[in-house]
Symmetry: C2
Subunit: 196 residues, 2 copies
DNA sequence: CTATGAAACTATAATCACTATAGTTTCAGA
DNA sequence: TCTGAAACTATAGTGATTATAGTTTCATAG
């Protein structure tokens, strides 16, 4: 395998890119429901069949990267955390710099994020992508805490962390919301002890 | 408004029931994807347009009750809990007797549950229905703990509790799985304190 | 009792996402 | 250079869902 892609893969990537760009532009202009896949295919100058060959999950997947990078970030954030730092702290810091939790984004990415947050179908699909990483995240957490990755507690924690973007993403102060949720996961629900 | 429904509403309920029954029967026989809405409409002896008039959310909604009962159970479980019992304990007990967490069900309900658990589209829709109750549950929780229903911590707890059926429902020992998750929510994630 | 309007229902046609088929072009590698 | 796989195309189909326009059925005000 070559270090640089052959012409073939380059063209494939080009087409994929053209589809992403066309979709993002049209969605931004007319809203997600105001655009048909046919329009997107036209705009990218490919056939509808080709469009679906590139995005097996359908219309929503058009503006998302195909790669599984989403999961990798969190897993390496856990592995490479400074010694003494808790797993949850590492996850908290990692999430804080990404997605809906930072304003420190180039304008095109911000437009994209706003589109996703403002479109239920896209929010849902985004969640699906995040949750697809549950297994990997659970394994990483388990490795650091000497538990079994199949332990329901581990799986639940992974799931709950991955749900945070959808849960806190729409809040006005999304960063504060995220921190509140992490506090809950770290310390549990504070219930006054029963008095008799 | 009368105590007994007029003929009109009775017929409407009849039609809805016929649709539910037809859908459940056909889904059980041929699988969710093996049945078209046209077949269901035929079986229930109504037109396709009528079918959709009864289930605004589409095919998946056919076998679910339209009512908002789901939420009510949990909310009253919180309100009417024995004094001294924690909110989470009340929720835990309430969930334990329902859905995927008990084998103590009549065979028809069990068949229905297995169908839902075994069909991704139906699982997803079921989750959507549960989550629709997040607001109500958050209010109930807030009322019992002197917090604001808009508090992110309260909303997150409500959401996480409502996710439990989907999260633990597919486990072999779903009841044990559910308990493990409640323990996590009550006590938080046990992380050894950093050593320096 | 009856007229009237709303609600439930119908058939029909359309839209749209998505899939299947079969054939064409284009690149990679033997 | 030959060959096969991969990417692409047009075309036609399936299936869910909506829109339209008209019909039947019930509730109820007069």
């Amino acid at each position: 395998m070559a270090t640089t892609m052959g012409r073939r893969e380059r063209k494939k990537a080009q087409t994929r890119r053209a589809l992403s760009d066309a979709a993002l532009r049209l969605f931004s202009e007319h809203g997600y429901d105001g655009v048909t896949v046919a329009q997107i295919a036209d705009e990218a100058d490919v056939s509808i069949a080709t469009l679906f060959a590139h995005v097996p999950d359908g219309k929503e997947a058009l503006i998302f990267d195909d790669g599984a990078d989403r999961q990798v970030w969190l897993v390496t954030a856990i592995r490479d955390r400074p010694s003494g730092q808790s797993v949850l702290e590492a996850l908290r810091r990692c999430l804080a710099g990404r997605g809906p939790f930072t304003e420190d984004l180039p304008p095109d990415l911000r437009r994209k994020r706003d589109l996703i947050v403002g479109t239920p179908a896209l929010r849902e699909y985004s969640r699906k992508l995040w949750i697809a990483g549950e297994g990997a995240l659970a394994e990483a957490i388990a490795a650091e805490s000497g538990r079994d990755p199949v332990d329901m507690t581990v799986r639940a924690l992974a799931r709950y962390v991955l749900e945070i973007p959808e849960l806190a993403g729409t809040e006005a102060d999304s960063l504060a919301a995220m921190n509140a949720i992490f506090d809950l996961l770290e310390s549990g629900w504070p219930e006054p002890p029963m008095d008799a």
